[in-house]
């Protein structure tokens, strides 16, 4: 029976059927379900690493020891792991080593649109590019085995429209895990310059061999006069576009898109239309091989965002001068207001930001932000920057030394803190940079679906303590106390001392799951209309998503959205927000803190 599987699930099953024994990753949309799927298999070592570098190192080390290993991450994660990645190509491996990266064209959940395939060219690692889930299964399996036979790492590049596409997939059962034995090979594995030079020479030779092998990954459909070169999901759109346009074409699919084999030249007649997702990586290689191309380099297809059937039909039409005009998209009879994402009602980050905002009133604050659910602090103007994981503390330190007038408040989630900010903590102390670092510890990696975070095992305050930094604890569901704590921390920073605040309360979604399991129904809060004076503090300053401003300015709490956090009742100056059963509300706060 074929099952509807996500591309990510298919990748995991492919690796399983190749006998993967060690798999490591760091969560990141659209890649997370690969490790989540593998986690179910207890006969192998599968882990969420603290960041992508340690994930790649874990898998690389295992592959050096002869195991079949996989590392999975989103595209930007590969930047974090770039150092060991490049070394892996120099040393080679013994067991199969497959690096899976999921790119995010159109930036559905990312800060940039980088194309991982460049890393293949840069590091001399071949890149496989499946186009749909069934092929992802096959290539994950083949890729791992190919890596082992080449004794060289192999990358598998996915994109959002593969990782998060569900389609029927036939899977084969998992093969037993292949662990290994480490054998010494100092000349290969110790990259002192003398050894590294020999490895470099070897690598260049190997790369030529790999380019020949890439020819095996080329398939051809049709034999029309128009040549269309495709890779990855670009292939899918190209087939459909050519069909709709009734163009007689030869469609060449390069499933190993890095490196492109010289043999591809034998298949190309005249100019080549190139359809690929992301940057013009295939097209650039074709140009180097001397092919005249019509792709993204000259603007036949958009350089931004992801491909669509529409943009590919229009691009092919432009490239072939067909003059096809597609119908304009219908305009809505009424323009709806935008619906940006908000903190979930009861999100502890909402309480932390509220407390920080009130405590920092009157100060000239730079809200040094970061990547995670708490980036939604933009909704209350409390993120002045958020560029990459670790930006809050890292860039915050730079701002603090450059502009001494400002008070820097860095806000960072727990998973992000362990991922990216431990070295910064050391710099904060050794350079004594006066700023407030707020670790928003919801005990999960919430943004990417609630994966575990190290915070339960290694509380952040212990690390602050070890480094010798002054630190405070706060519970964001207790707003009055939180404001007091935040005021103290701000006073410390103003007096020249770096200070850490750990604001701890579990993610409300996890709390809700716990409640459902234990049969507890969280309380609901409601507005007593007579008492509400329409001041707007609950919906403007606290900004709970469950609270709506009615036409007369009064507040209304949507009972289907309220999560019973009590924060609105705490901020209401008129005591107009109530709950039916205060005892139940108290118990809920208690259960929640243990979720």
């Amino acid at each position: 029976m074929r099952h509807l599987l996500l591309g990510n699930e298919a990748i995991a099953y492919g690796a399983l059927s190749a006998g993967v024994a060690v798999a490591a990753g760091y969560p990141g949309t659209p890649s997370s379900e690969i490790i989540e799927t593998l986690e179910e298999y207890k006969d192998r070592f599968v882990e969420w690493a603290t960041n992508e570098k340690t994930a790649v190192e874990m898998a690389y080390g295992a592959a050096l020891a002869g195991a079949r290993a996989l590392a999975a991450m989103k595209h930007v994660g590969l930047n974090v792991a770039a150092d060991p990645l490049h070394s892996a190509a120099y040393t080679g491996v013994v067991g199969g080593f497959l690096i899976v990266t999921a790119d995010d064209p159109n930036m559905w959940s990312s800060q940039n649109e980088q194309d991982s395939r460049w890393y293949g060219l840069q590091s001399y690692i071949p890149v496989l590019e499946p186009s749909e889930p069934q092929e992802a299964f096959k290539m994950a399996k083949e890729g791992l085995l190919l890596s082992e036979s080449l004794e060289h790492p192999v990358m598998l590049r996915s994109v959002t429209r593969l990782s998060h596409v569900r389609a029927p997939v036939d899977v084969e059962p998992p093969a037993p895990p292949k662990f290994g034995k480490f054998s010494r090979n100092m000349e290969k594995y110790v990259l002192v310059p003398q050894n590294a030079r020999a490895r470099r020479a070897d690598l260049l030779k190997k790369w030529e061999r790999i380019a020949d092998i890439a020819a095996r990954f080329i398939s051809v459909e049709g034999d029309g006069p128009v040549t269309v070169v495709t890779s990855g999901v670009g292939y899918l759109y190209a087939v459909e576009a050519v069909e709709r346009l009734r163009v007689k074409a030869t469609i060449i699919k390069a499933s190993m898109s890095v490196p492109l084999p010289r043999k591809i030249l034998d298949l190309i007649r005249g100019d080549a239309v190139v359809v690929e997702e992301g940057d013009p990586v295939v097209e650039t290689q074709l140009r180097i091989l001397g092919v005249r191309t019509r792709g993204k380099l000259d603007g036949f297809f958009p350089r931004m965002g992801e491909l669509s059937l529409r943009s590919v039909i229009e691009g092919v039409s432009k490239a072939l001068n067909l003059g096809v005009k597609l119908p304009e998209p219908p305009r809505p009879p009424l323009q709806p207001p935008p619906r940006p994402p908000y903190f979930c009602p009861g999100c502890p980050h909402m309480g932390t930001f509220y407390a920080l905002k009130l405590a920092a009133a009157g100060h000239n604050v730079v809200w040094s932000g970061d990547i995670g659910c708490y980036t939604l602090g933009i909704n209350t103007g409390q993120q002045d920057l958020a560029t990459h994981m670790g930006s809050s503390v890292g860039l915050g330190m730079g701002i603090a030394v450059a502009d001494k007038e400002k008070l820097v408040i860095a806000t960072i989630g727990d998973s992000t803190f362990y991922h990216a900010a431990l070295p910064q903590l050391v710099d904060l102390k050794t350079k004594r940079i006066p700023m407030v670092v707020v670790i928003m510890d919801n005990e999960y990696t919430a943004m990417t679906g609630g994966q575990p975070s190290p915070s339960k095992l290694i509380p952040a305050e212990k690390l602050a303590e070890a480094v010798g930094l002054k630190h405070y604890a706060m519970d964001p569901a207790d707003l009055k106390k939180s404001i007091e704590v935040a005021k103290k921390a701000i006073a410390d920073a103003k007096s020249g001392e770096p200070v850490v605040v750990v604001s701890r309360r579990p993610c409300i979604l996890e709390a809700y799951r716990t409640a459902r399991r234990s049969g507890v129904r969280p309380p609901k809060y409601y507005v007593v209309a007579d008492k509400c004076k329409a001041c707007g503090i609950c919906y403007n300053v606290l900004r709970c998503y469950a609270i709506t401003r009615l036409p007369d300015g009064k507040a209304w709490i949507d009972p289907s959205l309220c999560n019973g956090c009590s924060m609105c009742a705490q901020v209401c100056p008129y005591d107009a927000i109530k709950t039916e059963d205060p005892e139940r509300a108290r118990k809920w706060l208690e259960l929640w803190s243990r979720a």
């Binding site: 996500l6 596409v165 999901v233 459909e240 119908p327 009424l334 994402p341 908000y342 709506t548 036409p551």
Partner: protein, 177 residues
């Protein structure tokens, strides 16, 4: 022939589940299927949009603007937002419900009137039906029943559990009448 459907709503309404149900019924009916989901940031109370395509052989996973045979909206403001996907003659199925956006109150009647201006809009009181059945979470099952009937897939849902099936039947009846 490929049928293209865009399913939209607000994070938490079960948009993804509805899309997967449609896909599963289509698979059971013997079709090739692709469901394009978006995970991550889009789920935090924001707009959610999932594309479903089924047919003998489905290539591209994403539905283009002006190319959807159906738009199924679990919420009326999201129906407006997805309007651009409807192809000429396409059907817009709307759950008669508005989830207000904080600080951006809109008059529901104005929204419904705007949606009615399109000749092939079908309003379904899925939220009200679900509440009558005991829980608003069944609203997506009601819409599923309606859609499944329209798509000729209502004979391929024997895997649906009893409580959802009840809501499904309500939706299916609306499509038959």
């Amino acid at each position: 022939m490929v049928t293209s459907i865009v399913v939209v709503g607000v994070g938490g309404q079960g948009v993804m589940t509805l899309a997967r149900w449609i896909g599963r019924a289509a698979l059971a009916a013997g079709y090739d299927v692709k469901i394009a989901e978006v995970h991550g940031l889009s789920q935090r109370g924001g707009s959610v949009e999932v594309h479903v395509r089924f047919g003998e052989r489905v290539y591209g996973p994403v539905v283009s603007e002006a190319d959807a045979d159906y738009v199924a909206a679990l919420e009326a403001l999201e129906a407006l937002r997805a309007f651009k996907y409807i192809k000429e003659g396409g059907v817009l199925v709307v759950n008669k419900r508005i989830i207000q956006i904080p600080g951006r109150y809109v008059d529901p009647e104005q929204v419904y009137a705007a949606l009615s201006s399109y000749a092939r809009t079908r309003f379904i009181p899925a939220f009200d039906i679900a509440v009558k059945l005991g829980d608003p979470i069944y609203e997506n099952s009601v819409i599923f029943g309606f859609m499944a009937r329209m798509l000729g897939l209502d004979g391929y849902v024997d895997w649906l559990d009893a409580r959802n099936l009840k809501a499904f039947e309500e939706g299916r009846k609306l499509a038959s009448s």
